[in-house]
């Protein structure tokens, strides 16, 4: 490659409200990594002047849709990009208000790291608890607690230390401290740029990494533990009508490796049929590979002719998940129309679909107090422990073992809307 060679990609999210300086933080990251180009800067400079501001308001960079600008509020997840020369970053920018739990869950679903913003003047708040709980629920392995606005508390280390201690106490209490999760702390001033990309000289007492150094060092998804091979079939390629007679028997199973590795010769089992074979070839387009790894989209060819279609799953023999017809889940309700226990929904799990009905709702979670409350229905932004009965068996893993094969969405058959997001327990 001629220029910036990025050897990996990291997806992360930011949690916080406008008041915590979240937009300023993202604006600052983009600005200090030279992602903001001159015309964009001119545009926001003009807007800043129009609003009578003295300095350029970097938060305007992430201010999106017209409707939102009218309300002066961010109401949907926005995606931002920057690159450092060693890594490409995708930021999921989620609004932090209580009524936007569904947006936080959406942003968290693809993130491998979350930055939780705390206003140094206010300390650990209800919303901090909510954001931490949701990041934990959706299985984000790396949490960075950013104590922002240090400039407004005279960069006082004792205030920072107290907030860190408060947060740790609460994290321990709700079980956020686990082997497969880590929590880091950083003091910063997004407004002045202290400890984001540059260290600044206001906080010599802090000797840890800057925010960007933390991001650069964060392990990529799937890199931290061994995972079993999971290959949901998306599409079957059978070019039997091709002009090329060699292709008449070609039967390629196309999909993305959701976890694990595969090599030519590996023994595999196709689910739900349970029939076994060996890997004959691995291809990307017409390029032949010897082996392939997590997150690669490939085409698999098997030694034996096994009837396989979209929605089936190929796994290594001896590592099959149990096909199940009932699932226990944590569900976030996303729709303005409440959940109906009388209705049938569609569960989409990997590339497979099944009709589903509510079994029972054990409780719903108050995202602010984390108390478990009795519930007989769910409204938008509710999170509940709930079971479903399935018409067709699904091949599932628990969400904590495997995010790809432990996650599902619920679809309303009449509107086709995505109404629920679930994690199998």
């Amino acid at each position: 490659m001629t220029t910036p060679h990025n050897d990996s990609l990291l997806r992360f999210m930011t949690c916080g409200s406008v008041d915590d300086g979240k937009s300023t933080l993202i604006g600052r990251l983009l600005f200090d990594t030279k992602t903001i180009l001159a015309d964009t800067l001119t545009q926001i400079t003009r807007t800043s002047e129009k609003r009578g501001l003295e300095a350029v308001d970097l938060s305007l960079l992430t201010d999106g849709l017209q409707a939102e600008r009218e309300q002066g509020i961010t109401i949907d997840v926005a995606y931002r990009y920057f690159s450092t020369g060693t890594r490409k970053y995708i930021i999921a920018d989620a609004p932090g208000h209580e009524q936007y739990t569904r947006n936080m869950v959406t942003a968290a679903s693809t993130a491998n790291l979350a930055i939780i913003l705390i206003d140094a003047r206010k300390g650990v708040l209800t919303q901090t608890r909510r954001h931490s709980f949701l990041a934990h629920l959706v299985g984000i392995p790396h949490i960075v607690v950013a104590v922002n606005k240090m400039d407004l508390v005279n960069y006082d280390q004792t205030i920072y230390d107290k907030i860190c201690a408060d947060y740790l106490a609460f994290a321990t209490e709700i079980g956020l401290q686990r082997d497969d999760h880590d929590i880091s702390f950083i003091p910063m001033s997004a407004l002045n740029g202290d400890m984001l990309v540059d260290r600044g000289d206001a906080m010599p007492w802090y000797t840890g990494d800057t925010l960007l150094e933390m991001l650069e060092a964060a392990p990529p998804a799937h890199s931290e533990r061994a995972e079993q091979f999971r290959f949901p079939v998306q599409f079957v390629c059978r070019p039997h009508a091709s002009d090329n007679p060699e292709l008449h028997d070609f039967r390629g199973f196309m999909g993305r490796i959701e976890s694990g590795d595969i090599a030519i010769g590996d023994a595999v089992t196709v689910l739900p049929s349970g029939l076994s074979s060996k890997v004959k070839a691995i291809q990307i387009g017409e390029e032949q590979l010897q082996n392939a790894t997590t997150e690669q989209s490939i085409t698999l060819l098997l030694e034996d002719e096994i009837d396989t279609s979209r929605g089936d799953m190929i796994v290594k023999t001896g590592q099959s998940p149990e096909p199940v017809k009932q699932i226990e889940t944590m569900l976030c309700w996303l729709s303005e129309t409440p959940l109906s226990t009388a209705r049938t929904y569609i569960v989409r799990h990997t590339t497979r679909e099944s009709k589903a009905k509510v079994g029972s709702i054990s409780y719903k979670v108050d995202v602010n107090t984390l108390a478990q409350l009795p519930a007989d229905g769910l409204a938008m932004n509710d999170i509940a422990r709930i079971s479903f009965k399935l018409a067709q068996a699904l091949m599932v893993d628990s969400y904590t073992t495997n995010r790809a094969t432990g996650a599902f969405i619920l679809i309303d058959e009449s509107t086709n809307n995505t109404v629920g997001a679930g994690m199998i327990t």
Binding site: M1, T2, T3, P4, H5, N6, D7, S8, L9, L37, A38, D39, T40, Q43, T47, D63, G64, L65, Q66, V77, Y81, S83, R87, K88, T106, S109, P219, P220, H222, S223, R225, Q234, F235, C237, R238, P239, S242, N244, L247, G252, M254, G255, R256, I284, G285, E286, T293, E295, Q296, S297, R348, H349, T351, R403, A404, I409, N416, N417, T418, A421
Partner: protein, 311 residues
């Protein structure tokens, strides 16, 4: 934390794999999709991704171009050549046919036709009964696109309602639609202009010649470079200089190719993909800022166009 020594994908491999996955989801979920193909660099990347997704099979969708009639001949020729090389079916529907039908009415004869593409696109969707259009839009292009879904839902009128989009979680894309409704799928949503050029370089993709530095007659208008005396595919010459215009012969290249009347080139001597990658890494102006004369009308003009059914 213990880190396993494990192969992780480079950012280009990751983006490529994600795009292939999205293309295959369209093929798996939709009954009659189409790939919008203009001959531009983003759609050329998507063609390569489609090859990686579906070869040795044929693409499970035809290619379609909504031709404004204001396209550079080099791009149109390239479009036809590429479709032929791939042996894939290319459908062309033209804004000029919509004008003849009366569904597109111009205010002035030479006005930019980008916004009128929406009408022709909706007519073509209805004609063929397409339930999904695959497009090359990227979230980094414009503010209004930062919140766009990978699978974006459009109602019967082709309208995009930013307040009524389906939540999109994990990689569980929901491309279901009822008859008459439509999904727009964007496989390279997460790519930046830099990613596109790096991919073009890595994959050795051929591009229409006007992406590379060449000599061209231009005039300066409002700080932008405006190409003049451009021949159309039908032989007509448009963008004629006005009296008082000083025509300069300048070395330029296009960062995007679109309607001739509103796409500005940039001054450049980058005549190879490698040089363009370097230039892109050091540029100080966004792709749209430099090259689109129609997006700047208002801060939110892209959002308004999208609501009307623009891709």
């Amino acid at each position: 934390m213990t880190t396993l020594t494990k192969r992780t994908l480079s950012h280009l491999d990751w983006l490529e794999s994600e795009a292939i996955y999205i293309l295959r989801e369209v093929a798996g979920q939709c009954s009659n999709p189409v790939l919008l193909f203009s001959g531009g660099k983003d759609s050329l990347c998507i063609l390569r991704l489609a090859e990686k997704a579906f070869r040795p099979g044929r693409f499970p969708f035809p290619l379609m171009h909504i031709d404004t009639g204001h396209n550079y001949k080099e791009v149109v020729d390239f479009r036809d050549q590429r479709a032929k090389e791939l042996s894939e079916r290319l459908i062309v529907r033209s804004v000029e046919d919509s004008m003849k039908r009366g569904s597109v009415v111009l205010k002035t004869p030479d006005e930019p036709r980008n916004k009128h593409q929406s009408v022709t696109l909706l007519e073509a969707i209805e004609e063929f009964g397409f339930d999904c259009c695959i497009g090359g839009a990227r979230r980094d292009e414009e503010k209004a696109r930062a919140k766009e879904r990978i699978m974006s839902f459009r109602d019967e009128f082709g309208q995009w309602d930013p307040k009524n989009q389906r939540p999109e979680l994990w990689n569980l894309y929901n491309a279901r639609s009822h008859k008459g409704e439509n999904i727009r799928a964007f496989p390279i949503s997460n790519w930046t202009e830099m990613d596109v050029w790096q991919y073009i370089e890595r994959e050795n993709l051929e591009l229409p010649s006007i992406y590379f530095a060449h000599q061209r007659d231009v005039v300066m208008r409002g700080g932008a470079i405006f190409p003049v005396n451009v021949p159309l595919t039908n032989g007509q010459i448009i963008n004629q200089p006005k009296s008082g215009d000083e025509v300069i012969n300048m070395q330029v290249r296009f960062r995007t190719v679109g309607d001739i009347t509103c796409t500005a080139p940039v001054q450049s001597d980058a005549d190879t993909t490698e040089k363009i990658v370097i230039e892109t890494a050091t540029t100080t102006i966004t792709e749209r800022g430099a090259t689109r004369l129609d997006d700047q009308t208002s801060d939110a003009s892209m959002e308004l166009r999208k609501k009307e059914g623009y891709f």
